[in-house]
């Protein structure tokens, strides 16, 4: 009951408080002279948002950085030991390596696959159906996708009926095929986890690219064809450059998705058999080992890894804004 009351207060209270704030602030601003009023007003309106960002984004980030040089309970300063843990052991290197593999392959396959499917689908009449089917897995959570793909990779020893799709299909198609336990041995397991991730996300990229392709003026491609350019050349030298901003945006989103990938790995292998990634290790450090410092150090490393991506992205956005 207490929670319900709290929810009711929050629901009614938060909008009421913001209205009160704005009315009061505007009343106060009205008493000022014109020039200071002009200078102050944007800040008055920005202040609530800034406060939210400060409390919910900036403060936790700084706190995480501070925690990352402290011990398990966050009580004592222990220098860079947590970073040594996060980067220095065999398990750490495996997780780092896997995260890099995810970064490259997942991003590459989703962007490449999405672009390819969108470009090909555009040329057929049933393109909406194609996009719909490819997009369908997006409606699933990563967790559900993980469970489904776990069944696909399911293994039974040779001689027993294979209930996993992959082993069953390969067994039927390839003579003399020995069923394999796909998820328990590197390097196949990480690659197959990535395949499950790509399956879930490629529809998103396809839809975004399809929309961008619609915006490419047909006349340019037409003119190039008249000048004798083949289809491949039109795609490479006209369509692709025009899709540059879209590719950048999708790639950024996928890089970040790959960096924080957790659900698929957790559901399908729990990070066993050398499939750990940074996020599963962070989870483990926080909830199993209950070591705040190590978990924070891993979080800081993940954050640091996204910074260059964001920087490149911001620069690109600014350049585009300037070009306009």
């Amino acid at each position: 009951m207490g929670t319900l009351l709290l929810a009711a207060i929050a629901l009614a209270g938060a909008p009421a408080a913001s209205v009160v704030y704005i009315v009061a602030a505007e009343l106060a601003l009205g008493r000022l002279a014109v020039r200071p009023r002009r200078a102050l007003r944007p800040w008055v309106w920005l202040a609530p948002a800034l406060a939210f960002v400060a409390v919910f984004l900036v403060y936790p980030t700084l706190d995480t950085v501070v925690l990352s040089v402290r011990d398990a309970t966050g009580a004592a300063w222990i220098g860079l030991a947590n970073y040594a843990f996060a980067l220095g052991s065999r398990d750490a290197l495996i997780a780092l390596r896997n995260t890099v593999i995810w970064l490259v392959l997942f991003t590459g396959l989703v962007v490449g696959g999405g672009l390819g499917i969108a470009a090909l689908a555009e040329r057929v009449r049933y393109d909406a159906a194609v996009r719909g089917i490819v997009f369908l897995p997006m409606a699933l959570s990563f967790t559900a996708a993980g469970v489904i793909w776990k069944f696909v990779y399911e293994f039974r020893p040779a001689g027993a009926p294979q209930i996993g799709l992959l082993n069953a299909v390969l067994g039927a198609a390839v003579p003399g095929f020995e069923p394999r336990a796909w998820l328990v041995g590197p390097p196949w397991n990480t690659l197959l986890l990535i395949a499950a991730g790509v399956w879930t996300w490629v529809g998103f990229a396809t839809v975004v690219f399809a929309a961008a392709l619609k915006a490419v003026p047909a006349e340019i491609a037409e003119a190039a064809r008249v000048d004798g350019a083949g289809e491949w050349r039109v795609f490479r030298q006209i369509t692709l450059p025009l899709l540059g901003p879209t590719t950048g945006a999708v790639a950024t989103a996928m890089v970040i998705t790959a960096l924080k990938v957790f659900d698929v790995v957790y559901v399908m292998t729990s990070g066993n058999f050398d499939t750990d990634v940074l996020a599963t290790r962070m989870y483990h450090a926080l909830f199993v080992d209950q070591h705040l410092g190590r978990a924070a150090a891993l979080a800081v490393i993940l954050l640091a890894a996204t910074v260059p991506v964001m920087a490149v992205n911001l620069r690109r956005l600014r350049r585009e804004a300037a070009a306009r």
């Binding site: 009421a16 394999r180 729990s270 066993n272 909830f287 080992d289 209950q290």
Partner: protein, 430 residues
């Protein structure tokens, strides 16, 4: 003005809801309310849990709200840190109790339960499992006997195999079967985030049989290291079977890829693909659910793991869910008092799949000859120890699980795996 009126309406509505919530239970003179329980059960086990608390709900009017997860340590920790702990939780690993008690997340039970009465109903070993620094913090409500070799007597008769009384004999039999192309053992280590635990039971059981409870205690408390001879030898004994493609059905890849619940099934296919399966009592219910034709005692039987050192032959390996209180409410107290009673535990016992540590539960409450025999063994065991994996600090346990998976995949790297576990131990036992 309009805004004021709307706010007022919200408050009135909230007040009415509050009144309604309090009203229906007080009218009947019952306790009412809800009590949230976190545990690991799903499927038929969850049905049994619900059946067990049904009389409590009827009597008190309190609703039991169950949340189940295989990853209990993590979920419990998240909820505690989020300031939203469950009222009651059933932990499969007493090894987590000291940390939870010391951080005051777990509430002491000394004043909640009548401990003198409990001491008459529970063997002292079982009460000690829930104590931290002498103070009771948790009580075992549902138990299992581990370290049992399960087999199909019909298959053994057809294969002209008799059960050897010693582990050495068991190994010789394993080799003989391998020689004629039959894998002796069914084994599967999969269990989601806790994959590997069946292997930790194997290793601990081999250690208990060879070196006894004292060595087990020293190991669990890290008084001896992971490279100590009894520990290393237990690993090697386990690997001799688990990492041997001829001794386990499907070889090491199948051992790693098979879920523990599916692992015994190949014993009952036609023809059987393996003959023995080491597992706790709860596996009986899982097997029977899969193969309804199985008659306990006729198509399915068990013996405790054969002896290695004669003086440790009867030592039992046990498991159980310890119930602790994380939120002191009248409903939680009432539920705890109910769950420790023989009346409550007999309900789950009758449904199968559980043993009761409460001496008040009569042997004839057990549904079949196998569970009755297990209950007898449990009561008669000269010494009993919780599986090592459940007694270590959670960080150590997780590393132990993972280590067994690494070992089955790379049996040649035992030295490195034990060294890594030793490094984790230095951290986990601080």
């Amino acid at each position: 003005m309009a805004r004021q009126r709307r706010t007022a309406i919200v408050f009135v509505a909230a007040a009415m809801l509050l009144a309604a919530g309090g009203g229906d239970s007080s009218a009947a003179g019952k306790l009412g309310g809800t009590v949230s329980v976190l545990g690991t059960w799903g499927g038929s086990e969850l049905d049994s849990f619900n059946a067990m608390v049904k009389p409590f709900e009827d009597r008190t009017g309190a609703h039991v709200e169950f949340q189940g997860t295989r990853d209990l340590t993590a979920v419990l920790q998240t909820r505690i840190q989020g300031g939203n702990p469950p009222d009651v939780a059933a932990l499969p690993n007493p090894g987590a109790l000291p940390l939870l008690a010391r951080s005051h997340a777990l509430k002491p039970l000394g004043r909640v339960l009548d401990m003198t009465q409990l001491a008459r109903q529970y063997p002292s070993t079982w009460l000690d499992i829930g104590r931290v620094g002498g103070e009771p913090y948790a009580i075992v409500v549902k138990a299992a006997l581990k370290g049992l070799v399960w087999y199909d007597p019909q298959t053994l008769a057809a294969e002209h195999v008799t059960l050897p009384p010693t582990w050495a004999g068991m190994l010789a039999l394993t080799d003989r079967l391998a020689g004629r192309g039959t894998s002796a053992w069914c084994l599967g280590l999969g269990s989601g985030a806790t994959s590997g635990w069946p292997a930790t039971d194997w290793i601990d059981m081999l250690l208990l049989r060879a070196a006894g409870p004292a060595a087990h205690d020293a190991w669990v408390r890290h008084k001896i290291g992971w490279d100590a001879a009894p520990v290393r030898q237990a690993w090697e004994q386990f690997g001799r079977i688990a990492a041997n493609p001829k001794d386990v059905y499907g070889g090491p890849p199948a051992v790693l890829a098979t879920d523990f619940g599916d692992a015994p099934f190949p014993m009952f296919t036609k023809p059987p693909r393996c003959l023995f399966h080491l597992q706790a009592t709860f596996i009986e219910a899982i097997i029977q659910k899969q193969f309804s034709w199985i008659r306990p005692g006729i198509d399915l039987a068990f013996v405790p793991m054969p002896r290695i050192a004669p003086q440790y032959a009867g030592v039992a390996q046990i498991a159980g869910d310890v119930f602790g209180m994380f939120h002191d409410t009248p409903q939680a107290r009432a539920l705890m008092r109910y769950l420790v009673s023989a009346e409550a535990q007999a309900i789950w016992v009758k449904r199968g799949g559980a043993l009761s540590p409460n001496k008040g539960v009569p042997l004839d409450a057990y549904p079949d000859v196998l569970s009755r025999r297990a209950a007898e063994l449990l009561v008669r065991a000269p010494a009993a120890r919780f599986g090592a994996g459940d007694m270590m600090p959670p960080e150590m346990t997780a590393a132990f699980y993972k280590g067994t998976l690494d070992y089955v995949a790379h049996p040649d790297q035992l030295r490195a795996i034990l060294a890594r576990l030793e490094a984790v131990a230095r951290d986990a036992y601080k």
